[in-house]
Amino acid sequence: MWECPSGHDRVTCRARKGAPTVAETMTYAFLILSVITLLGALLAVLLRNLVHCVLSLILFFLGVAGHYFLLRADFLAAVQILIYIGAVAVLILFAIMLTRNVTGTEGPREVFGMKWWSGGVIAAALAAGVLRAVINDPVSQAGSSAQANSSVAEIGKALVGHWVVPFEAMAVLLTAALIGAVVIALEEVMRRR
């Protein structure tokens, strides 16, 4: 039941009496975000035009970021937008422009061919198996808790405190990946000279 917080006048409160509870609002937000996420993922996989695929992928990334906000992982939501939409999606767009003509459509393919069916059946079998396990397992019943909260300051302290070794390993990995990506992409050019 909605309780009148101090500082609100009675009219605002009465108007809010019929408003949905926090749990209901979370459920609605979850449903809307899930539709966005699933639509983005499906279009990214099914569309013919590669650029359209990346745009749907950005929609999917945005939906996942919204889910992180709903789950109160604010820092991860910001990271999701910065890294995935800001870096990965743009990187994929550049790769498409470097490998295809700018329109970037895939060549003709046999729709509902052998590969399409086998891939679809494998994915559907996996989804059915995992969904069955999720429905039967009691851990699925765990409800949302209002205490779940994380501040950026806490995460920062943990990163340079308890998690400092994996943090440094990540730094080395990113440097290695950067150098490796440049070496792989440049190899042919160097050979030509």
Partner: protein, 103 residues
Amino acid sequence: MSLALGHYLALSAILFAIGLAGALTRRNAILVLIGIEIMFNAAILNLVAFWHFKWHAILTAQMFAIFAVTIAAAESAVGLALVIAIYRHYRSVDVDEMKALRG
């Protein structure tokens, strides 16, 4: 109906299956990478859901999620560099045409 962990687990399972179907069925190497990104995101969403609903007192799940995002970014950078190198060599990014290592 109030939100439970099972909703997020089901959503992640469906997203993972969509990503897997994309990675298995598409012929363009860039679209295979897009499928892999979708699978990555589904797995990370699972981690964050477990953090929110079960273990919100400790930050371990969020740390794993942050490291997984970092690795996914490095993976996509190297993967796309490979795609560009393959395109320079074969003039194509069709994974069905890359048969040099076929036994």
